[in-house]
């Protein structure tokens, strides 16, 4: 295990602690009695008392925080006053929907983004580059929910090819799942595809003028090998970084997309919680999102070291 990995683990731990503090303080920053906030508007004194003792709300703040972290770590995120269900259970049911949607969107974004980026860089000053650049610019400028509305209008209402809503798990019925998730994933992935494309293009343009690409050409390698084996291989490092940085945008996008296509996922849970003032639920989803984001970023960073040997072996880089 290198020093780099150790350092990243430590940094992630610090960030995670800071994130839990933010969430913890957030719920207490609300005006009024936190017990009432957590128990819901119409709650009887008995419930309030139970909440107070279970969260230790009569204790000093640091103790409350520790108890909160302890509960969260064991999977106890409280109970929703609205549904009466455990927050952790609700999240557990919603998460697979969002994960499948995001994975599909990520796949679309990376395939389209890298492919178009490479083409744009290689076909410099040709119609292919202009087309790719134009589509990417459009992808950045079109709000994804509006793209969703237009796609529904066109492909679900005017020409009903795809369903406008609903979710089928990939593991139950792959074909139906793809049919239901294609439009949402396209909507969710479009912005990311544009960003990946632009980054790939500029990384490739730089890589293609690098000395090692000249060496590869001087060795007599064919253009496919030079472009894919040498230039793209190096550009991927940048692309992985960008995908990592865009995870937050992907999660945000999932919230809107699920709302639009009425998918029973994490995002829908979040929005519904806000409008019903379901604070334990809000606290839970925010905490889970932040934790997931930090963990995924850690994984992305460790993934670098697989792609970039300068990080993996020897301590010269970073």
């Amino acid at each position: 295990m290198s020093r780099y990995v150790l350092r990243r683990l430590l940094e992630s731990a610090v960030t995670l602690i800071l994130a839990t503090i933010v969430v913890f303080i957030g719920i207490r920053a609300l005006p009024g009695d936190p017990a009432r906030t957590l128990a819901g508007e119409e709650s009887d004194p008995a419930t309030l008392a139970a909440i107070r003792s279970s969260y230790g709300l009569d204790q000093p703040l640091p103790v409350q925080y520790l108890r909160y972290v302890q509960k969260a770590a064991t999977g106890d995120l409280g109970r929703s006053p609205r549904t009466g269900l455990e927050v952790a259970d609700s999240i557990g049911h919603a998460l697979p929907v969002t994960l499948q949607l995001s994975a599909f969107a990520l796949l679309i974004a990376v395939l389209i983004g890298i492919g178009a980026g490479v083409v744009a860089a290689v076909r410099r000053r040709k119609p292919a580059e202009w087309a790719a650049n134009g589509v990417a610019l459009l992808g950045l400028s079109v709000p994804n929910f509006w793209l969703g509305q237009m796609l529904i209008l066109w492909l679900a209402i005017a020409y009903p090819v795809f369903p406008a809503s609903g979710f089928v798990s990939f593991f139950d019925d792959p074909a139906q799942s793809v049919r239901h998730l294609l439009l949402p994933a396209l909507v969710l992935g479009s912005g990311l595809a544009a960003i990946v494309m632009r980054q790939t293009r500029s990384a490739m343009l730089e890589a293609l003028t690098a000395d090692y690409v000249r060496t590869a050409r001087a060795k007599g390698l064919g253009s496919a090998q030079v472009v894919l084996g040498h230039a793209l291989r190096n550009s991927l490092i940048v692309v992985v970084t960008i995908v990592g940085l865009q995870l937050g945008a992907l999660i945000s996008g999932a919230v809107v997309t699920e709302q639009l296509f009425v998918l029973p996922g994490f995002g829908k849970l979040t929005i519904d919680a806000v409008f019903t003032r379901d604070y334990p639920m809000i606290q839970g989803v925010v905490l889970v999102t932040a934790t997931a984001y930090i963990l995924i970023n850690l994984i992305v960073d460790l993934l670098y070291s697989v792609i970039d040997p300068r990080i993996r072996v020897g301590g010269t880089a970073l």
């Binding site: 960030t15 079109v142 509006w146 509305q149 343009l205 999660i251 809107v256 934790t291």
Partner: protein, 296 residues
């Protein structure tokens, strides 16, 4: 591979007026950037003079003309209350521009000092890094959800949520520019001349970091405008009866079958504005960074 002849750039302490003019000339030579600039200016004027441009008040209900498709009187059609969609779009533009600008100002006000200190004082760097990492861990919409839960949905909530979400980007750009500039000869010369930290940061580093910040801000505005639309669409931002492009799209949601124009035109308005800002941003980046423009 170009010709071997290379020229070394000699760092200049502060961008002189001549350079500004050169940048302007470069932008004016780029037809896409000029188009973007013109569209952005027109949009700004429409937003400022909304009450003179809009043919109807944005909240004027007319139950005799619900869900009318676009026509000579109602360019963008009417909604289920018979409200003129064009007028509402013009007022919505005002909300978009306002939120876009305010949130970017907000993120710059907080992000720039943090970035400067993180880049200038190595001790603070890890602290600022952890703070921005923590911010990043709350994706924009999740942050907005939390804020809306605490502050209640409003235009201010939207500005703060979007602004906070943009802080890490501003910090990163400012920090890396500061790091780069701190190592430059003219800064060393200023130190040798006895300049204190405050003078260094204010007179030597910040002015030279403006280019990068301008580019960062231009790229952030279209993102902020789309962000406003998303928040209002979800009901977390601007509240009715105030008009916003996002609210119009949320209203359209119920009438996709009977009034598709309700979704088409506000959306197109956002796309045109965001596209123009992105074109302008790309043009600015190319004009401010000749290295990039040669390869782009």
């Amino acid at each position: 591979m170009t010709v071997e002849a290379s020229t070394l750039d000699i760092p200049v302490a502060v961008a002189p007026a001549g350079m500004r003019r050169r940048v302007l000339r470069r932008i004016l030579r780029n037809p896409l950037a000029v188009t973007g600039l013109v569209v952005v200016c027109v949009a700004a004027l429409l937003a400022i003079f909304a009450q003179f441009v809009a043919p109807f008040p944005y909240d004027q209900v007319n139950f005799n003309e619900p869900l009318r498709p676009p026509s000579g009187t109602h360019w963008f059609g009417t909604d289920s209350f018979g409200r003129d969609q064009f007028s509402r779009a013009v007022y919505g533009l005002r909300a978009s521009v306002l939120v876009g600008l305010l949130s970017v100002v907000f993120s710059l006000t907080i992000g720039v000092p943090f970035g400067l200190f993180a880049g200038f004082y190595g001790v603070l760097d890890p602290v600022v890094s952890r703070l921005t990492d923590t911010l990043l861990a709350f994706p924009f919409l999740v942050l907005a959800v939390g804020l809306a839960a605490i502050l209640g949905p409003s235009l201010t909530t939207a500005v703060i949520a979007i602004g906070v979400a943009q802080i890490p980007g501003v910090v990163r750009v400012t920090r890396s520019e500061t790091l780069r500039l701190r190592g430059m000869d003219f800064v060393a010369a200023a130190v040798a001349g006895g300049a204190g930290d405050a003078v260094l940061l204010r007179r030597h580093i910040l002015p030279n970091a403006t280019n990068a910040l301008i580019v960062q801000a231009t790229v952030a505005v279209p993102g902020a405008i789309i962000g406003e639309a998303v928040l209002s669409f979800l009901g977390l931002g601007v509240r009715p009866p105030t008009s916003s492009l996002g609210i119009m799209l949320a209203d359209a949601q119920t009438f996709v079958r009977d009034g598709p124009w309700m979704a088409v035109f506000p959306g197109l308005t956002i796309v045109v504005l965001a596209l123009a800002l992105n074109l302008l941003g790309d043009g600015l980046r190319d004009a401010l960074d000749p290295r990039e423009s040669r390869s782009a």
